[in-house]
């Protein structure tokens, strides 16, 4: 009888042992971040509406199962780095552009009340920030003049008044974007994974008459205009 009691007691002591740590849910999944870009092409027939810029879009999605609400802050920065082509000697060229973010970069935020300054993000809500880049770097160098160029023989334009020439398109350039943004004072800084992409650009010109061969849709990658 005593042995049985002892064995029972021993089994209880062992079988009752359970200390699990709380399950792991990656907190990085609470907010999803991503970056995209669009080349806002040049409109030569409407000089006042000139574009020719690269626009970066930062997407932030509330992946959490609860509402987040607080006073909006929007601080942070986007850093764009031109990855100088291998083998090319580009000494002295500043290849970085750092752009500060603020409320003026909000493109879309459904739960943002501009009057009160309160941001409300329900589950799956998205905020989109936009950040245009005009090809200048931190030391005000215009990189458009540093990119290698190719001639687009299908399109004749005026590069200066009275002087016609063939349109030029840059060769494919590689860039890496990294960004961090803070939405409110009481939430952490969100870090975007570095995003690398390639892009060609159209070298600025003007053309008073529309030329079918020079038409370029907004958002397309001009790299394919020259085969």
């Amino acid at each position: 009888m005593n042995i049985r009691m002892m064995i029972l007691g021993w089994c209880y002591a062992i079988a009752g042992c359970q200390e699990f740590l709380p399950s792991r849910e990656d907190p990085n999944d609470y907010f999803k971040t991503s970056v995209s870009k669009m080349y806002d092409v040049f409109y030569p027939n409407n000089p006042s509406a000139k574009r020719n810029r690269l626009v970066l879009y930062l997407y932030i999605v509330n992946n959490y199962d609860d509402v987040i609400q607080d006073n909006i802050e929007i601080t942070g920065s986007v850093e764009l780095v031109w990855n100088i082509p291998k083998g090319e000697n580009r000494y002295g060229i500043d290849s970085k552009k750092t752009m500060t973010l603020s409320r003026s970069n909000i493109l879309r935020a459904k739960g943002y009340d501009a009057n009160t300054g309160i941001l409300t993000l329900a589950p799956n809500d998205t905020i989109v920030l936009f950040c245009p880049w005009n090809f200048t770097t931190n030391d005000s160098t215009n990189l458009m003049g540093k990119f290698n160029q190719r001639i687009d023989y299908r399109c004749q334009v005026f590069d200066t008044p009275g002087h016609s020439a063939y349109r030029k398109i840059t060769t494919e350039q590689e860039f890496t974007i990294s960004a961090s943004v803070r939405l409110t004072k009481k939430t952490s800084t969100l870090y975007f994974k570095p995003f690398t992409f390639s892009q060609c650009f159209i070298v600025p010109y003007f053309s008073p008459d529309p030329d079918f061969n020079c038409l370029t849709e907004n958002g397309i990658d001009p790299c394919h205009l020259i085969e």
């Binding site: 042995i3 002892m6 002591a13 062992i14 609470y30 601080t75 009481k186």
Partner: protein
């Protein structure tokens, strides 16, 4: 002729080795069992040694300066049966009294073995102290010194003794401190098989012990003897497949010890080593980042005793410990490889010469070399990159980045210590001694931490706080003491008078800093000179009195001053001239002119042997602590200098007090059932919990009012029960139960982790209480002996900690949440752990 023979035998057998804090006295009276007459010239010898004496004309014997430990004592005289008293435990600083009765016998060489019984009341102990022998230590379900300390009344689970801070306790091995003088606490580990016994003082302690305010733990190590012995022990907690038993640390431990004579009666050795591997309580997270084991430890001791002559002994001892582990913080669980790897190393070598001057006097001289190193981080210093951390969206978990914490801290302490003991006459025992310590403290720390709100939220856009430091200093300290103990008759009262003088010479210069206003409430720091610090010293008188009140009772009272010098971190942080001149400023600045902390304490107690098995005692104590270390901001906390919270320095401006009453009832002298029950009621209040309190509060934005509040270890009620019993099939069970009333915490809620819920309310520290704590540990062991002397034996055991599997709360956040916003499981003490092991001795 007989007198000459007596004197010769006294000189032949008496070997007096002394070292303060490691020796006790064995004495008693030998009488005829039938006639009750005193027996003269009975030979009293410690078996296996050459230590012995003979009884005097009153049948009385005394062996002074017997090293604490467990012995068999043999009593022989012609015409009587010899008696061997088995397992007599001699405790350090105490008298062990063994009265023996011998039966007449015409048969020569007949021997009777008797198992000794410890006296119910230790009448020469005028303070609260507990002695634990090796045999008992082996049976208890405890592992660390702190766990053993927490068994005593008036001590918390964390090791706060009678309301004091944990670093107010000093740890000694064979009378020599083994402290970490920079960060506090114990500086080394010892294998269990090398421990011969332990004395724990939680009440007053004599003048030979210093630099401690709450308690003294003196561990006595074993040595080799004339018998070769070897033992091997192994235990693990994951002997059942993990799918049935998750409650493991994946702990494996092995211990080996070997001892015996190199040259019989002349040269002895003992060596013991423990190896421990564990994946820790957090293995489920740790194993995702690191390969097993997450923690590895090695500790050991080696000792050589050389009996150069009957009156001289030379001992060489080495103690080493090494630990390599990964830190764990719950908020880093998704980025554990961002936490620094840790290593600690300690090496201690001691050479001790003990010399008998006469049969009543002896002295000892020891030289100690003690080196400790603590490393944080694996990179070299040059590879460190200081980066802000990445957090999850709610600023709770650190999801990216490496902890900005690298350190190489080394301390070397060389000690010369001398002690002299003399039993001047039958009444007076005089002890005196000195100690000088030479330190080399090297401290290289790189540490940047984010500023946080009081509620723990990091303030991302605030500059990181710089705690970095680099310095090397060579302070010195020392002491002289004299202790005179009077025993007014052989069974009479004790008066103990002691005086101790301690000094500390920081050997540093304090920078004289002027803060020059610039503009917009900003200040520019300028060092205008340096002032050499002066040596600090203190006198500590100690008085104790104990008197028997009848054959079964005693009364005692003691009073004393106790001093403790500040940790070196508080003296030297951030004052190094090259560091200041380079412009690198640390958050907190040390103050080498800090005074020692001081406690005035007294206690009064009464013990009574209720029956031949039960002893009860009641003790009242009171302590008053002054000059505690805290920090002080010296310019407005909203200034811009030093990173937004001013210039802060360690100062002596805090105080505390504690008082309480302890009841103990113990049952002894019964192999079937023994143990003790204690209840203590006490309170402890003060003006500062930790040395960084003021600077923390200034950073958080709400200073604490200058009032006393319950300190974080204020445990009002505690009940302890320990029982040893023999179950059927010779299974020995040792159980311990602790019940503690709730400790305080600060309830100051927040809505969002940044601002208080009600900012109109004053911040009152420790204004709420947590929950009761109930713990039970159980150890079952069974010994199998393979010979009649038990020289070859196997012991198997099961050691269950928190056997009731209670979820005991360790901490609660300011919102009243256990484990805070993350429900951090470290807010609970460990749940049940069961280890199974065995040891073989031969």
């Amino acid at each position: 002729m007989k007198t000459l023979l007596l004197i010769f035998m006294l000189m032949l057998f008496t070997t007096v080795w002394t070292s303060a804090g490691t020796q006790g006295i064995l004495e008693g009276r030998v009488t005829d069992a039938s006639t009750k007459e005193n027996l003269v010239s009975v030979t009293v010898q410690i078996v296996g040694t050459s230590i012995g004496t003979v009884t005097n004309i009153d049948g009385f014997y005394r062996l002074n300066n017997v090293r604490a430990g467990v012995y068999d004592i043999k009593y022989t005289i012609l015409g009587y049966k010899s008696v061997i008293l088995k397992n007599v435990t001699v405790y350090a600083d105490l008298r062990t009294r063994m009265d023996v009765q011998l039966d007449q016998s015409s048969v020569e060489l007949s021997v009777v073995e008797i198992f000794s019984q410890k006296p119910l009341i230790q009448k020469d102990q005028p303070s609260t102290a507990f002695s634990i022998g090796e045999i008992k230590l082996d049976k208890l379900p405890v592992t660390t010194f702190q766990e053993i300390l927490s068994l005593q009344p008036g001590v918390t689970l964390e090791g706060n003794v009678r309301g004091g801070k944990t670093n107010e306790v000093i740890y000694l091995i064979d009378g020599v401190p083994v402290q970490d003088y920079v960060a506090g606490g114990l500086g080394t580990e010892l294998p269990k098989s090398s421990i011969g016994g332990m004395t724990i003082y939680t009440g007053g302690f004599e003048a030979e012990y210093g630099n401690a305010m709450s308690g003294v733990i003196n561990v006595i190590t074993k040595g080799g003897d004339n018998t070769h012995k070897m033992s091997f022990r192994f235990e693990k907690d994951n002997w059942i497949p993990s799918k049935w038993n998750k409650q493991v640390d994946q702990h494996n431990e092995g211990e080996f010890s070997l001892g015996g004579p190199v040259i019989p009666n002349t040269l002895f050795y003992l060596t013991a080593t423990t190896v421990r591997f564990s994946n820790t309580r957090w293995w489920q997270d740790m194993n995702k980042y690191f390969s097993s084991p997450n923690s590895a430890e090695l500790s050991g001791m080696a000792k050589l005793d050389y009996l150069a002559s009957e009156s001289s002994k030379l001992t060489g001892q080495g103690i080493y410990s090494y630990k390599d582990w990964h830190d764990y913080e719950y908020s880093w669980r998704y980025n554990l490889d961002g936490l620094p790897r840790r290593k600690s190393l300690s090496l201690r070598g001691v050479i001790t010469l003990t010399q008998t001057i006469s049969d009543r006097s002896a002295f000892s001289l020891s030289f100690t070399h003690f080196y400790m190193q603590n490393r944080f981080g694996e990179d070299t210093k040059a590879e460190i990159e200081i980066q802000p951390y990445h957090y999850d969206i709610f600023l709770r978990y650190v999801v990216g980045g490496k902890k900005n914490w690298w350190a190489n801290i080394q301390q070397l302490v060389q000690t010369i210590k001398g002690d002299f003991t003399s039993q001047l006459d039958d009444v007076q025992l005089l002890k005196s001694g000195f100690e000088i310590n030479f330190y080399d403290i090297f401290y290289d720390l790189v540490k940047f931490e984010p500023q946080r709100t009081y509620f723990g939220k990091p303030i991302e856009n605030a500059p990181l706080l710089n705690f970095s430091n680099l310095y090397e200093y060579f302070p010195r300290s020392g002491s002289i003491y004299v202790q005179d103990k009077f025993r007014f008759s052989l069974d009479g009262s004790i008066l103990s008078l002691g005086l101790r003088w301690d000094f500390l010479d920081p050997r540093a210069e304090r920078p004289l800093v002027e803060f020059i206003p610039s503009s917009n409430n900003e200040f520019k720091q300028q060092v205008v000179g340096y002032k050499k610090t002066v040596m600090k010293h203190a006198f500590s008188p100690r008085v104790a009195f104990a008197a028997p009140m009848g054959p079964n009772s005693m009364f005692f009272v003691n009073f004393g001053y106790y001093f403790q010098y500040p940790l070196f971190e508080y003296l030297y942080t951030g004052i190094n001239p090259p560091q200041i001149q380079s412009g690198a400023r640390s958050v907190l600045t040390g103050n080498p002119d800090l005074e020692p902390e001081r406690t005035i304490a007294w206690e009064i107690g009464y013990k009574h042997a209720v029956t031949e098995n039960y002893v009860g005692s009641i003790t009242f104590f009171r302590k008053n602590v002054k000059n505690q270390i805290d920090s002080k901001t010296l310019i407005p906390f909203d200034s811009k200098a030093g990173g937004d919270y001013g210039f802060a320095q360690y100062v002596n401006n805090a105080n505390a007090e504690a008082q309480g009453i302890e009841f103990v009832l113990s049952r002894e002298r019964d192999e079937m059932l023994s143990g003790s029950f204690s209840y203590s009621f006490m309170y402890t209040e003060g003006s500062s919990n930790v040395a960084n309190q003021s600077i923390n509060q200034a950073q958080w934005g709400f200073p604490i009012k200058a009032v006393s509040f319950p300190l974080s270890w204020d445990q009002r009620h505690s009940v302890k029960l320990d029982i040893e019993t023999t179950l059927p099939y010779k299974i020995i069970a040792n159980g311990i139960i602790w019940f503690n009333s709730p400790k305080p915490y600060t309830y100051f809620p927040t809505r969002d982790g940044f601002t208080p819920l009600d900012s109109s309310k004053d911040f009152l520290p420790n204004n709420s209480r947590m929950r009761n704590v109930l713990f039970g540990n159980l150890k079952l062991s069974r010994n199998f002996s393979f010979d009649s002397n038990n020289d070859i034996s196997l012991t198997v055991y099961v050691d269950a900690r928190n056997v009731f599997n209670t979820k005991n709360v360790k901490w609660i956040d300011s919102n009243g949440r256990i484990g805070g916003e993350l429900s951090d499981p470290s807010a609970y003490y460990e749940l049940r752990r069961v280890r199974v092991g065995g040891s073989v001795t031969f």
